[in-house]
Symmetry: C2
Subunit: 458 residues, 2 copies
């Protein structure tokens, strides 16, 4: 019997998160006046205990027991050696898959949803609002809300809302509420609906709606929750990479290559940041965040100050951005349709510590089908982007005749995304192209903002 799965015992779960802000330089978020904002500026949006984490530069932060108790439903997650996938690719590379799809909502998202729900509950909050693209984040927060008795209202990007009715059901099964975004329940939503009644929606719009719904609640008991991009979200995800390290150690391996898809950056951060720490400290690793060619935030967009949302409610963040009012083509990887990317991840690009790459939608689904037919697990469309690039690396290893250890984050399963697989199997999908004109025009939206400094962390 081969050693297919590498597991950790329940008591081997990491007890601390790794905070990359301790080890890199970051441009500060700016307020409307162009000056760095203080923590208090975020108080209407987030509870103060999470704001403290957002601005913390402490390297290791304890995971509360209450959070560990809920993570224990599915963590530590298994790691599998993808023997059959390797064989199909005829590669000398050893491919290890960290399987984050085993959580109840089916992705890595609850790692931070549970933590955020916990801190909000501790702070006396009763209701959370959020946005969701593909639905992974919204259902994760609904799940986390059910664990802590919090109400959860989710604004779901319209195209996903229409394509994935089951995600709404999932949220409702956990007691949450799901609205199609843009909705008529917020000013931000109404403004967009008036201008573009047929819009497929975007994460930027949905974030605006969710922030507005939170800050406009006069009881003061509602806060907003974000599923990616921000420092504290990246922080909560590092449990993935910290577990992966322990698992690879058990089989005497250390990765040469790390691959994960990146929309806002959170599953990438989860698996990669603990290894970026090693890289800063001298280890040689190639680390690849993978995005869709249809929404090339990392590979084509400049490093600028821009808002995180369409209605410009958020502070200005220093990040690669396609422009906060850019609406990407309706590819089926809804979680990768964000105009920006995490400031920490953007900084790692500036630092040359990671190497962004892009693949097409069809290349991604082709990889997902091969993975399904070899390793059994049907990956999320987002995850397929990571697998597509893994195939390129595995083929390179074959061509170069090099043994390599590749670590890939399987950020989620595709069981709720089978609509898109059916489209692919019916040959009804194409490589949606960027609207270059719209892209160019969207750059106007940040041209008057201050320029971030190009910092070097190492």
């Amino acid at each position: 019997m081969n050693n297919k799965t590498i597991i950790l015992k329940p008591n081997e779960i990491p007890r601390q998160w790794y905070n990359i802000a301790a080890d890199i330089k970051l441009n500060p978020p700016l307020g409307p006046d162009g000056k760095p904002i203080g923590p208090e500026a975020l108080a209407p949006v987030f509870p103060m205990n999470l704001i403290e984490q957002e601005v913390s530069i402490q390297r290791w932060i304890d995971i509360p027991e209450e959070v560990l108790n809920i993570l224990a439903i599915w963590r530590p997650t298994p790691m599998i050696r993808a023997y059959s996938f390797e064989k199909a690719l005829n590669t000398p590379a050893r491919i290890y898959i960290k399987n984050e799809s085993v959580s109840p909502p089916g992705s890595h998202k609850p790692n931070t949803a549970v933590a955020q729900a916990y801190y909000n509950k501790e702070f006396g909050i009763k209701r959370l609002t959020t946005e969701t693209g593909a639905g992974q984040w919204g259902s994760a927060l609904a799940f986390a809300g059910s664990q802590f008795g919090l109400d959860v209202d989710v604004f779901m990007v319209r195209i996903s809302y229409d394509q994935k009715p089951f995600r709404k059901t999932m949220m409702e099964t956990w007691g949450g509420t799901c609205l199609s975004s843009p909705s008529d329940t917020t000013q931000a939503g109404r403004n967009i609906l008036e201008k573009y009644p047929d819009t497929p929606g975007s994460l930027g719009i949905a974030i605006s709606e969710a922030i507005e719904a939170a800050v406009s609640d006069k009881t003061g008991k509602t806060r907003y929750s974000l599923g990616s991009v921000l420092n504290h979200v990246m922080l909560h995800q590092t449990i993935i990479g910290l577990e992966a390290k322990k698992q690879l150690e058990k089989v005497g391996e250390y990765p040469n290559v790390i691959i994960a898809c990146a929309g806002g950056g959170s599953n990438f951060a989860g698996i990669a940041y603990p290894y970026v720490y090693d890289k800063i400290n001298g280890k040689e690793i190639d680390i690849y965040p993978v995005e869709p060619e249809a929404c090339p935030t990392m590979t084509k967009a400049p490093f600028v100050y821009d808002h995180g949302d369409e209605a410009a409610y958020t502070p200005l963040l220093a990040m690669h951005s396609l422009g906060h009012n850019f609406i990407p083509p309706p590819i089926h990887a809804g979680g990768l349709r964000y105009h920006g990317i995490a400031p920490t991840l953007s900084q790692l690009i500036n630092d040359d510590l990671i190497t962004p790459v892009a693949v097409t939608q069809l290349e991604a689904f082709k990889a997902g089908i091969l993975f399904s037919r070899t390793e059994g697990i049907i990956p999320a469309p987002e995850t397929n982007h990571a697998l597509a690039y893994t195939i390129r690396e595995a083929e390179k290893a074959r061509e170069e005749g090099k043994e390599k250890t590749i670590l890939v984050n399987l950020s989620g399963h595709g069981n709720i995304d089978l609509f898109s697989y059916q489209k692919y199997l019916n040959n009804e999908l194409s490589n949606l192209k960027l609207d270059d004109e719209a892209l160019e025009k969207s750059k106007d939206c940040y041209k008057d903002f201050p320029e971030p400094e190009i910092l070097k962390s190492v």
Copy 2:
């Protein structure tokens, strides 16, 4: 941190299946002449190596390495202590959940699908045909086929085919083919379509179609595969209970009560038979298979000789049966809509070793919602029946003030069944009633068959 999850190491996976046929008496299957059939009568339908298992009375049967290597994708499966569910029920009972939902197709079904695909491959078979109700079995066999390079054709009960298009996508993603049953590709299907063009279909019809498609293939390279009922299928599922035993031993527990839903009986057999062995050898345990009131095979149907399929292609099996041409109401637990139940399970009822019970559809979904909101995992509609009865037992324990250890098999997740959850959440589900007249009439279909002996095994 509490001990939420009980895991086994990969090398703790059981290496043998438990064969209950070694420990109980069974009426033999009969041929069209009313006489016991020999193994050769089944040769056009199954490969001889599986027929040997079907008739084996050897107590322990080795699991082939090739099967273990594929089971290792998701086995050993975790067991969770349902602390939050217990708390919500305010019960002194300790509830342990064996989580079979973590397999790629999302249920216990691949435990036997992988074994059956392996034995067929070994025997030189190239293509498998089968039926599926809710879609769990069909997708499990498509998955298993992809692992061994076998073609898989699945006849899916029409009502489920229409309600669950994603199951078809799942099968196709793994390279299988899925047809709505009754179909016009078989004589059995055409006969039904002519008489009842609007039929919702039934497992009995779909089985007939799949058998016909297998035996009519003149190349001799096609066989039929059944996902429940038969002895060898029950055998392959016992890995569940054998793992569960090891897991409960790790926390110093032995169950007082075992609960699993039962359609054909395979997930029930999986968790329960290794404990039935203990019970035969003197242990006291209450063991409950749970069925829907709308399809009360165990609780209302007599123990008779009847066919396993609508078109009477199968031998006569000694089992509780509602009549092989009975079409149960279209409840959403498609896997529990079978007219019969495993002969081994039927015999255990005769032996008073297990106690069948029935719950309604609404009681089942109510339990599923409570479980989702406490333990996070959204169960399959079939599994909800087991959870509904678990609630009854937990409440009984509270009323009696008794500590109890309850072991429940979470046979599958409901992520592909969210359509039915949405119906429930919208108050659009009802407790579909049996058509008593149709039920009475269906008894005619077995009245001329021989009567089985009422045997006592212990």
